[in-house]
Each structure stands twice: as structure tokens, then as C-alpha cells.
């Protein structure tokens, strides 16, 4: 009787992905150390994300690093600034090692002062009408499309909303802006200024419902000492960490460490 044939060697089975999503969306890697890790690789491309926090929590710096890292990767990045003049922002950016002035000079990193744009468009009233809101959205859309912008920061949404005021108009503005940017494959961060103990993520409370994601920044006290903390509250299209992280704005960029929970803390 012939000996039974040796079974053919088989390749070892690959480990099963236990929590893999059915579809993995393309990511816009922020390039910020640690942040991409807790976002599962980055922000889903085209998402509109609220970066919410009180003063001095690092919102603008996080957004500027997002733009610089994008420009470095060949993704044209645009800052629409309402609260600070571009010259001053570039001056502040130059204190960080990750900033490269050539990204500004070669047009990879574009700064636009929104008040100057308002003037150019003749939008001088205290409150924007429905038609004027439409003009603003179309102007931003055209800017992003013409320049081929892949990353946009609006600093701040709160300042823009001061001139929109009504909740329905804000909701409509954000829905249309978000759709417009998403259609162009542009990932956007909108800075939202909130009070230290506001208990919501935006000035009007409607913004967080519209956006795809919310990154919350706040200050917390430990026995009188203040720590800056970051948490991803919401991010459509990806699994993400919901833990809290202490952040530090270093010369090489934003760094993150797990927030230790061993003692009582309070928001400030």
C-alpha cells in the first residue's frame, strides 16, 4: 500500500482583523504626532471638523501645524483668518521649527485675511444677509477650487458667526460650506471659541451638530497647576480614541501624552 501523500504546506493564516470597518475612507493625515494615531490614521478626507476650546488651549497652533504638515506633503493649504492678521500669524509660526517660510513663498501655504476679503466683496454691514452669506460661500468655494486647496482652516468660525447670528442661518451656512468643501476633497478645521465652562462645543450650540468631527481642547487643574487637554469628541467615518490627552506645544510641534486620572481635576 502506498503511503498517504504528505499534505501540501500551507502559508500561516494571517491574523483576523477583529474590528475592521467594511470600508476604509481615505485619510487626511494631520501630520501631528499622536493625533493621527488616535484618529486611526488621520481625519477622513473631506471632513469638516470643529476645533473647540477656550483661550490659550492651543486651537490656532494645532490648526497651523495641520496646514504646514499638509503643505509639506504637497497638499495646498489655506488659512482664512478673521481674528489675526496674516503677517502676525506667520511671525508667530516662524518660532516653530516645523514651519518653513518657503512653503509660503512657493504658494503651498496660503493666508487670506477674511476682513480684507469682506471689504473686497463689499460686505460691510454688521449682519450678513442671505445673499451675502451665499457670496461668502461661493467665494470660499472658488478660492479652494481655483487654488486646488486640500486643507483649509477657518480661524475662527465664531468670528464669522458674529455676522450671521441667527441659528438657522448658521446651520445653513455650515451645511453648504461643508458640502462645498467636501465635494472638492478639501478637509477643513473650523476654530470655535468657547468659554471655559460653557458645557458645549460652540458659541451657538448648532455648529457641533453639523460638522463631521469635534476636537475639544481645554485647560484642567491638578492641585492648582494647569494642564492643556485634548479629546476627540466626534469624528464621522473612523473609529477613534475617546480618551483625554495632555498636550504640549513644543518647537517641533504639538505632542501628546495620556492624561493621568489618579487625582481630582477640574476644568478652568
Amino acid at each position: 500500500m502506498d503511503a498517504p501523500a504528505e499534505p501540501a504546506p500551507t502559508a500561516p493564516a494571517a491574523p483576523r482583523a477583529l474590528m475592521a470597518p467594511a470600508t476604509v475612507l481615505e485619510r487626511c493625515a494631520t501630520g501631528i504626532s499622536g493625533l493621527d494615531d488616535i484618529l486611526g490614521g488621520g481625519i477622513p478626507r473631506g471632513n469638516m471638523v470643529l476645533v473647540s476650546g477656550s483661550v490659550g488651549t492651543g486651537k490656532t497652533t494645532l490648526c497651523l501645524e495641520f496646514l504646514v504638515r499638509g503643505a509639506e506633503r504637497g497638499e495646498r493649504s489655506l488659512l482664512l483668518s478673521v481674528t489675526e492678521a496674516s503677517d502676525k500669524l506667520i511671525q508667530n509660526l516662524s518660532t516653530f521649527e516645523f514651519f518653513r517660510a518657503d512653503l509660503v513663498s512657493d504658494g503651498s501655504l496660503v493666508f487670506v485675511d477674511l476682513p480684507a476679503l469682506y471689504n473686497k466683496l463689499g460686505l460691510e454691514g454688521e449682519e450678513l444677509s442671505a445673499d451675502e452669506i451665499d457670496i461668502v460661500i461661493r467665494t470660499i468655494h472658488d478660492l479652494v477650487r481655483t487654488l486646488g486647496v486640500k486643507r483649509l482652516v477657518l480661524d475662527s468660525l465664531t468670528s464669522v458667526c458674529y455676522r450671521i447670528r441667527r441659528d438657522e442661518s448658521i446651520r445653513d451656512f455650515m451645511l453648504r460650506l461643508g458640502q462645498s468643501l467636501s465635494d472638492l476633497g478639501c478637509t477643513s478645521l473650523l476654530v470655535s471659541e468657547i468659554g471655559p465652562t460653557q458645557g458645549r462645543y460652540s458659541m451657538h450650540g448648532v455648529e457641533e451638530a453639523i460638522v463631521d468631527g469635534v476636537i475639544l481642547l481645554w485647560n484642567t487643574r491638578r492641585q492648582g497647576d494647569i494642564l492643556r487637554v485634548l479629546q476627540i469628541v466626534k469624528m464621522r467615518g473612523t473609529a477613534h480614541s475617546r480618551a483625554q490627552y495632555v498636550i504640549e506645544l513644543t518647537p517641533i510641534g504639538l505632542l501628546m501624552a495620556p492624561h493621568l486620572k489618579g487625582s481630582q481635576q477640574e476644568g478652568v
Binding site: S33, R222, Q223, D225, L227, V246, I247, E248, T250, P251, I252, L255, M256, A257, P258, H259, L260, K261, G262, S263
Partner: protein
């Protein structure tokens, strides 16, 4: 272990190891100097090494003075000084030191070490925590346990050799047991391992 043998022992450790160095408080000065000699000159002096020294017990300026006596070059050592601010002794900061306002900001310690590891990438990075006892004065045990668990695990994953100085007094009693679960070994300086 005899203080003179510590350097050889530490040299033989693979990257990613975490070791507690337990000093006898009765012979603290001699043993402390021997440990500094071993960490800063014997292994820190290797050509590709960079030591990140976290000072909680003494200001960085004090440890830097000892390091200079051992001929440790300034570009081989960086300090994370966690004590000078709280002592109001911050008027002459060292160029090779970064200062944290309080030993209670344990996350800041992790972040500064992370910063220095990224800023000065070296094939052989060594982190020294001086000391467990000093951190324990300012932090509750639960918080400190959480800190060391995360900190040591992170450094291990980055192949960093971590040395934690402690004295064998009563204050460190509970913490010594906690630390023994996290480190690869405890070396009893001047005594048995």
C-alpha cells in the same frame, strides 16, 4: 551589587530595559556618585549615547556640576529639571536643560522626554529618573503608578534604557513593590540583587 560593578552591569543591558537602582540611604552620597559615574560616564559616555536626566531630587545645575567633574560632554546629556521652579531657583537656567514648573505635572515629564527623544535622535537613548522617592513626595501613589506604567511601557517600545533611582527607606516601601512589577530588574546598590 558593588557600586564599582554597576557600569559593567548596565552596559550589558539591552535597549528597552527598565531597571530600578536602589541606593542605601546610609551610604547615599557614595552610592549616588557611583551611580552617576555608571550612568553618565560608563554608558552615557558611549559614542552613540544620549542621556536624558530627569532631576526631581536635586536641581539640574547640581547634577550638571557632578557630570562636569566626570568629564561628561554637554552634548551627551539633556536635563528635564522638575524641581528648580518649585524651589524658586530658576534664575540661571542651563542651556542643556528644559524646566517643568512642578513635579505634579507628570504628563509634562512624559512630553518633555518625548520632545528630547525626537529632537535629538540617538541609537542609544538612556533616561534616568532621579528619583522615585522625590516624585512620591509630590504625587499620590495611584497617580505615580499610572505614570510609571505608561512612561516605562512607552520607553520600552522605543528601545530606550530607563534607570530609576530610589532609596530603600520606608517611604518608598509601597512604591518599590509597584515598581518591581514594571521594571525588568532591581539592582541593590551596595547589597545583593
Amino acid at each position: 551589587m558593588a557600586p564599582a560593578d554597576i557600569g559593567d552591569r548596565l552596559r550589558g543591558l539591552p535597549g528597552g530595559s527598565a531597571v530600578a537602582l536602589k541606593l542605601d540611604p546610609r551610604e547615599y552620597a557614595d552610592h549616588y556618585f557611583a551611580v552617576l559615574n555608571a550612568t553618565l560616564r560608563d554608558i552615557g559616555g558611549e559614542t552613540d549615547a544620549h542621556v536624558i536626566y530627569i532631576t526631581v531630587t536635586n536641581p539640574a545645575s547640581f547634577v550638571w556640576g557632578l557630570a562636569q567633574a566626570l568629564d561628561v560632554p554637554a552634548d551627551r546629556i539633556s536635563f528635564v529639571d522638575v524641581i528648580s521652579h518649585i524651589m524658586m531657583n530658576y534664575s540661571n537656567p542651563l542651556a542643556n536643560a528644559t524646566y517643568i514648573e512642578t513635579p505634579r505635572a507628570l504628563e509634562e515629564i512624559m512630553l518633555r522626554v518625548d520632545y528630547l527623544l525626537r529632537k535629538f535622535p540617538h541609537p542609544r537613548a538612556i533616561v534616568v529618573v532621579d528619583s522615585l522617592n522625590a516624585l512620591a513626595i509630590h504625587n499620590p501613589r495611584e497617580l505615580l503608578s499610572e505614570f510609571f506604567h505608561i512612561f516605562l511601557t512607552n520607553l520600552k517600545s522605543r528601545n530606550v534604557l530607563t534607570l530609576i533611582l530610589m532609596t530603600s527607606d520606608e517611604e518608598a516601601g509601597g512604591l518599590e513593590q509597584m515598581l518591581s512589577l514594571l521594571v525588568d530588574e532591581t539592582i541593590d546598590v551596595g547589597g545583593g540583587r
